[in-house]
């Protein structure tokens, strides 16, 4: 029987891992739900953001928060540029899966060409800093990533719910023709949303650089679980993505603590199958 401390630590660890899942899922959920673009390149962008944070930090001693101030706006522009290409070629929902897979492979190759396939680690003085809460330890960087994910999820939810742009985006996703009849310029807002999604990938990348060891193939490590998070959380539902991330993170972590760790991946996909059986309209 696992001790209460072990269980508590597993829950903490799962919540923090779930925060990262939620952060990565946020941009993907928005572009899939509101633009009908299944953007696999989102993972490659996040890793590119991580490598750039690493590069700026190790080669030019730029602190990660300052690096993020450069990378996030740059990714916003990059996201808009990607969307320009998608719009020009009229990429469909299914087509986007193939095209963005290709973009992800190209980005992986570029990363490997520049940084090689070898592992990269951004060593910082605070990498292993933890906050002690009774018998439990809360890693500081993961906590910051989780809080950032929560802040972005709440902010995005409010943006979509209360602002004109947010309402227009949701209306266009619901019925583009009627939205256009009411004067919604979907094209312009789609550029904005693509930029925002890519910027979120940049933010996730900054945290990945600080928390993980980097390798080009890591792009694919997140795909399965983050897709599960997006679908369980509901498309274009920022709060749902965050909560689904936390749910999967905790489920996996507790499974690792009380049963065989190898069963952990089964949990996220079992949850996904269950949700799809009970709520097939989520995709």
């Amino acid at each position: 029987m696992p001790s209460l401390t072990l269980l508590g630590q597993a829950v903490v660890s799962g919540l923090l891992a779930g925060g990262i899942y939620g952060l990565l899922a946020l941009g993907l959920s928005l572009s899939w739900g509101l633009l009908r673009l299944v953007n696999l390149a989102h993972f490659a962008l996040a890793l590119l953001g991580a490598y750039l944070t690493y590069q700026l930090g190790t080669a030019f001693h730029v602190p990660p928060w300052l690096a993020a101030l450069v990378i996030v706006p740059a990714f916003f522009v990059l996201g808009m540029a990607f969307h320009a290409v998608f719009a020009y070629f009229r990429v469909t929902e299914f087509g986007s899966l193939l095209v963005t897979f290709g973009v992800a492979v190209i980005l992986e190759s570029l990363i490997q060409w520049f940084w090689t396939a070898d592992y990269r680690r951004y060593e910082t003085a605070y990498a292993t800093t933890s906050i002690r809460v009774g018998p439990l330890f809360v890693p500081a960087l993961e906590l910051l990533a989780c809080l950032t994910a929560a802040g972005l999820a709440l902010g995005t939810w409010a943006w979509l719910r209360f602002t004109y742009v947010g309402k227009a985006l949701r209306a266009s996703a619901e019925d583009p023709a009627i939205a256009a009849a009411f004067g919604v310029n979907h094209r312009r807002q789609a550029f904005l949303l693509s930029g925002v999604s890519a910027a979120y990938a940049g933010i996730a990348g900054a945290f990945i650089a600080l928390i993980s060891t980097l390798a080009p193939s890591q792009i694919w490590a997140w795909v399965g679980v983050v897709f599960a998070v997006v679908i369980i959380g509901g498309l274009a539902n920022p709060i749902g993505a965050l909560l689904a991330g936390l749910l999967i993170g905790v489920s996996e972590s507790v499974t690792m603590a009380v049963a065989a760790p190898a069963w952990a991946p089964l949990v996220s996909f079992s949850l996904l199958i269950l949700i799809l059986i009970l709520r097939p309209d989520r995709v």
């Binding site: 660890s13 992986e108 070898d118 592992y119 002690r132 997140w222 972590s253 603590a257 190898a262």
Partner: protein
């Protein structure tokens, strides 16, 4: 001619012999190239380690061509990317043999890829030297030749070497926690470590298997901390060890002693958490290993290339050493038999012992495995040094306590 005349007949003959030998020794290889085909995981999760094999192979081929090639012909390495996937490796070996029509084969990197390539080599009856296969009992093909010298029962001999090393210290461990990847060779050796530990009277406080590609190390770290064992055995591949140690550090826990099966050598040696970590090896850059002239030549070349390729730990270790040895046994067989015929080469390798930079290899044991040549190394001052057996320890080095 006048000079030759003055030397007299015997002097002239000697002079001509010297000139002839010298011209042969430095003659550039000529004719159609001998094509040697292989794959490596140039991309994918195994790529960081496969890069070390690529550098070692390139150096070997270049040196070979600077000398006299193989049988006086230049050597061309047809290298393809198997993307760390055994199914891709299998298809590419089929292509190397049937489409590229290579003369000889060299193995890919890591157990699963080698097993896939072995099936193809067997079908076409090609000799397959390889450098990184960890499950000898699965290698049934009579013309595979391993230079990862695990011996026929590494699940017994490798853990025994490690526990022997620990037992020779002032405070041998009384309990062990074993955490291992489900990657086939890692799981195989770690399950063996559990049995060996139990037989030696150590308490196995924890035995866990995790999936290859695990992301969340927090829960695993919490279980290791909870077990409070004297010694941690990590059946790791690549960066698993770094990630687990880091996750434990975040829980304010450092295992008293820790061993790592197949770690990424650089990141573990350079990480603060890797201090005094143990692993196995067949070659490190210090005597007695570097007393071998081939090794002495390889070390500076590898360091230069690896640094240029931005490899964080640009030193020859077990991966590059094993890789170099695989090329050495292939060259030895070709040069001894003066043949590129796979059957002839295979027969020669099975009958002969081949000196390599990792020691003398033989292939006459069960499943072509000879002796277990693995040693125990430890991270000391940010660098790996062999500490056990004592005959192979770096000058002045010994296994340091925590």
């Amino acid at each position: 001619m006048l000079a030759l005349w003055r030397l007299g007949f015997r002097g002239a003959l000697a002079w001509l012999l010297v000139v002839a030998f010298a011209s042969t020794a430095v003659a550039a290889p000529s004719g159609p190239p001998v094509r040697i085909g292989s794959t490596l995981a140039l991309t994918g999760p195994l790529a960081p380690t496969a890069l070390l094999h690529k550098i070692a192979g390139e150096i070997y081929i270049e040196e070979l061509n600077k000398a006299n090639g193989l049988l006086g012909r230049p050597v061309e390495w047809v290298l393809l990317d198997d993307q760390s996937k055994p199914d891709v490796a299998r298809s590419l070996y089929e292509k190397l043999i049937t489409v590229d029509k290579v003369d000889l084969l060299m193995g890919p990197y890591a157990t699963s890829g080698i097993l896939a390539a072995m099936g193809v080599a067997q079908r076409y009856q090609k000799v397959l030297p390889h450098h990184s296969f960890g499950m000898p009992h699965l290698a049934k093909y009579e013309m595979h030749f391993p230079t990862a010298p695990f011996g026929p029962q590494p699940n017994v001999t490798v853990p025994t070497t490690v526990f022997d090393a620990l037992a020779a210290t002032a405070t041998p461990p009384k309990s062990v926690a074993i955490v291992t990847s489900k990657f086939p060779s890692a799981q195989f050796l770690s399950a063996g470590a559990r049995d060996v530990a139990a037989k030696r009277g150590l308490k196995v406080a924890l035995y866990l298997e995790y999936e290859f590609g695990t992301r969340d190390w927090g829960a695993l770290a919490a279980r290791v901390k909870d077990a409070q064992a004297d010694f941690l055995w990590v059946g790791s591949l690549g960066l698993d060890s770094n990630q687990l140690l880091e996750a434990m550090k975040k829980l304010d826990y450092t295992p008293p002693r820790h061993f790592h099966l197949f770690p990424a050598p650089g990141p573990l040696a350079l990480a603060p958490d890797g201090k005094l970590g143990l692993a196995t090896t067949v070659f490190e850059e210090h005597p007695p290993f570097t007393n071998n002239p081939g090794a002495a030549r390889l070390v500076p070349l590898f360091r230069e290339r690896a640094s240029k390729a931005n490899v964080p730990y640009p030193y020859v270790d077990t991966q590059a050493g094993g890789s170099f040895a695989a090329w050495q046994i292939l060259e030895a067989a070709v040069m001894a038999t003066k043949s590129l015929d796979d059957k002839v080469l295979g027969q020669w390798l099975r009958k002969n012992r081949v000196p390599t930079i990792i020691g003398t290899l033989r292939f006459d044991g069960p499943n072509n495995y000879g002796d277990d040549l693995f040693k125990v190394k430890q991270v000391q001052d940010g660098k790996w040094v062999v500490v056990w057996p004592r005959d192979f320890a770096a000058p002045g080095a010994r296994l340091l306590p925590p």
